[in-house]
């Protein structure tokens, strides 16, 4: 009983920080997906330079722990900007650095997710689109993407949920999202009530993850009629 009261109390303290979690996650998911799409495209392109560049990028980023990524962005980028563009970005809101770091981190796995999903859609689909006069982009956007999307969805959800839990990265440079807030609550209680605090945190994340799962299931259901897989 005591515990439940505490958990509810902590929920109340954590929830305001959901703003930061959401802003940071949603921006990095959107930006990271776009970047990932570009990378997947580059990996399939004719240009050897683009292909090699994309491969190296994906390999390096996927191998980079988030704490290193945030330091590279937070410390490296201002140096880079002032050296090359003579712009001082030291004063930027620290959240921007977090978003950039997460975008980079997110883009690499997502590009692989997209590459494999794209590969599972028949090339004939693209050709048919072109032949009814759609532009390549329209064909991609309206025909191939929706089909690749269902294939990519479960994996995409995996990555999104992983991203949302990257609170350690956010907190490393002092941006207070839910995970950071939880750590600070524990600290301010002199290390006490950790179990209850993390329980409250886990509850929030669980709800988010359930919502994401629900979304995935809905989309997949709407697709069930359109494909004949081993399940059907």
């Amino acid at each position: 009983m005591e515990n439940i009261k505490l958990i509810i109390n902590f929920l109340g303290q954590l929830l305001p920080a959901i703003n930061i979690t959401l802003i940071v996650s949603v921006s990095s998911i959107v930006l990271g997906s776009l970047l990932g799409l570009g990378l997947a495209a580059a990996k399939q392109s004719e240009s050897a330079i683009l292909r090699v560049f994309a491969s190296i990028y994906v390999s390096v980023i996927r191998a980079t722990p988030s704490i290193i990524m945030i330091f590279v962005v937070y410390y490296g980028m201002p140096l880079f900007f002032s050296a090359w563009f003579h712009i001082n970005i030291e004063g930027w809101n620290r959240m921007y650095f977090v978003i950039i770091a997460l975008t980079l981190l997110f883009s690499a796995p997502v590009s692989e997710i997209m590459r494999s999903a794209y590969g599972s859609v028949s090339k004939g689909q693209t050709e048919a689109g072109l032949m009814v006069g759609m532009t390549p982009f329209q064909t991609f956007y309206r025909i191939v993407l929706p089909q690749a999307f269902v294939v990519a969805l479960p994996n995409f959800a995996n990555s999104v949920i992983n991203l949302m839990k990257e609170g350690a990265l956010t907190f490393t440079i002092g941006v207070v999202d839910m995970v950071a807030k939880a750590q600070m609550i524990v600290a301010n209680n002199s290390g006490g009530y950790a179990w209850q605090t993390y329980c409250a945190l886990a509850l929030i994340y669980w709800v988010i993850s359930l919502a994401i799962d629900k979304g995935v299931t809905l989309v997949e259901k709407s697709y069930q009629a359109k494909r004949k897989t081993i399940a059907a």
């Binding site: 907190f171 490393t172 440079i173 002092g174 750590q183 600070m184 600290a187 209680n189």
Partner: protein, 268 residues
Amino acid sequence: GNHGSNKAQSSGKASSNKPTVIKVAYATTNFPITYQNSKKQGDGYDVAVMREVDKLLPQYKFDYVGTSDDDVLIGVKSDKYQVGVKNVFYTADRAKTYLYPKNYLGVSDSGFVVRTKDKDKFGGLAKLANNKGKLVPIAPQNGQYAVIADYNKTHNPKIDLGSADTFVVSDALKWVNEGRYDAFFAIRPMYEANVEKKNGANADLKGKLTYVTLGGIKTYPLFNKDQKALAAAYDKAIKKVIDSGKAAQLSEKYFGQDNFKLLNKPFK
């Protein structure tokens, strides 16, 4: 080329009427030494003392940035932040990386939490070593880790020093109580908040556990290597803050006792 540092230094020396802005990084998870209060402002003993120092230095204006332990260290090293506070102890190795001021900023009441019944067996560095007690692993970035490591350098038998990332305090207390470990290196306010206080997280362990003070350890702010002028200014100011008794007052406020007194006692 780092603009920030050059500017800070040159204008600091010129000491025009506009004060130089100094970024002071503090770790937000070191209650009650450095933390963020409910108004989202920097707070804690170290921060409060730095505010006192700032008052005495009209040529500087301290700006407090709350962040993680890691970032405090890397930030100060790279001069993103000029000063960092996070309950830092002195070691010779660290003094090669950072600029330590001559004067310390506070004293930390460090000790072991042990089972009350085993107080005489494990309640001290030598006791723990001699009785082969198990010490809860310490996060290496924590100053306490160095204290034990230093002890081991000069003593035999040695304490079995294990490392682990920062773990949850209330769990560590439980572990000691149930015998998973024999001693937990902690600071007094942490122990008191959890065990002694009426609605502390481990209030149920009251009586079963005891805190044994080992002694007071001096804590310092860390300066970036290039901030010699700032460090010198700090040294003068902190002396005044301590001499005036202001620091002792703050110690009472944040730690519940005057930790400076511990310096007169031997370290056990």
